[in-house]
Symmetry: C2
Subunit: 231 residues, 2 copies
DNA sequence: CGATGTGAACAAATTCACAGCA
DNA sequence: TGCTGTGAATTTGTTCACATCG
């Protein structure tokens, strides 16, 4: 109740999940010199329907102009604020195997308000080495730095994921992006999102097996097709 | 009606997305020597509610025994069948940068019916080199092999993703897992799933900023907490 | 006029609660 | 008795269609 950015309108979870997509589309438009965009155009760029886009944006407030559209810069800013991208976020990557390595070097993080600041591993052979310009440290080392407001990215082998999560949480981490397969048990107040590669492939396999669209074969070889993004 | 696994009941998308999770939990139980499990226990292991689990499984048919539970081996098998994990799937990874590299070496793929068989890149400096025991080839080379029934994993830089998708689709690929940020335009009949790291972090940032659970501070330091997985 | 913003209709997913069966 | 399987109730999300306003 005390904080200024307090309980505003409740924003539906499904909407929150799409805001980053809109933000990216807006950035791309901005880069192309567009500064006003209609819901129709933005929806196209983001791969959603225009009515849905308008409803999503309506949860943030009224930032469009009727008969005109949305100001790209303004809308970007509002969405950024809503997502909490004003201050930069510190990211700690835990587990410096193949995936951790790649994530440490992945520029997609840095480009949008997320700075990878710590690389954690417990393997003595890896601790102390330098990856992508950062020294690999242990949890004990991390403790010395600000413990709060870090997002932890878990890229350990599956067996080590729960322990890694426990240690991160003990240091005050409340947001975890988990690349390790399996379910993490965390206390209330800690949010986990997971990225599970095998699961994604299995979902694709399911649809491919079922010929989801019944449209076996023939895919209109030449020609430009309408944008059609499946979920 | 001829094939046993014929066009059965429609399975809700949300259910499909959870089947791989159940499958993994079942495998873990099996490895621990458990061969019968209740919906309560399996739900716990999978991080869902038992009622939801039962409803999900009911879409596959009646494979449980009232008063007893589910046979672990049987249920694993049924879910595997449903997901199309009987025959192995071939995966082609496109774009051999950091991420492509890591994905090529990632054992999590191989362990579940997905065999990474081709690594694609167009950079002459990379083509021909060997990564994780596979030679990097071009799209032109790929064409010589079976074009159908491949799942393409796009790990290119964002600018190259659409072209990569177009080329893969031209070769007959109908399932794409896209790691590049941005929206892919694909014809009907092609399914795209995307994994967007920056988006995931932004969603976490949103919730952290809002102190989703209002439960600022105090996280019950010691003690074992109930399992509480947020989405 | 033309595009936004939104109530109302619809659809999908989740949760409840309990009948029914091993 | 104890669990599954499932209708019914509820919640959440999407689509429609149009009044509204710059």
């Amino acid at each position: 109740m005390s904080t200024a950015s307090a309980a505003r309108r409740e924003i539906p979870e499904a909407t929150v999940a799409r805001l980053p997509v809109y933000l990216r589309a807006l950035r791309a438009l901005s880069a192309r010199g567009v500064d006003v965009v209609s819901s129709e155009e933005l929806a196209e760029a983001a791969g959603v329907r225009s009515a849905g886009l308008r409803k999503d944006l309506s949860h943030l407030g009224s930032y469009g102009v009727r008969g005109v559209g949305y100001d790209v810069a303004r809308l970007s800013d509002e969405i950024s604020r809503e997502l909490g991208l004003h201050h930069d976020w510190s990211v700690a990557i835990i587990g410096m195997g193949n995936l951790g390595h790649a994530l440490a070097a992945y520029s997609g993080f840095a480009t949008r308000g997320f700075q990878v600041r710590w690389l954690i591993d417990e393997d003595p052979a890896i601790v102390g080495t330098e990856i992508a310009g950062l020294k690999v440290i242990t949890f004990a080392d991390l403790e010395k730095h600000e413990p709060d407001s870090i997002i932890a990215v878990i890229a350990t082998p599956p067996e080590a994921a729960q322990t890694a999560a426990d240690q991160a949480i003990a240091l005050g981490v409340r947001s975890i992006l988990n690349f390790a397969p399996g379910v993490l048990a965390v206390p209330p107040g800690v949010e986990v999102r997971k990225v599970d590669l095998a699961t994604e492939l299995q979902i694709l396999a399911f649809h491919e097996q079922r010929g989801k669209y019944e449209q076996r074969g023939e895919l209109e070889p030449g020609g430009k097709y309408e944008q059609e993004v499946v979920r």
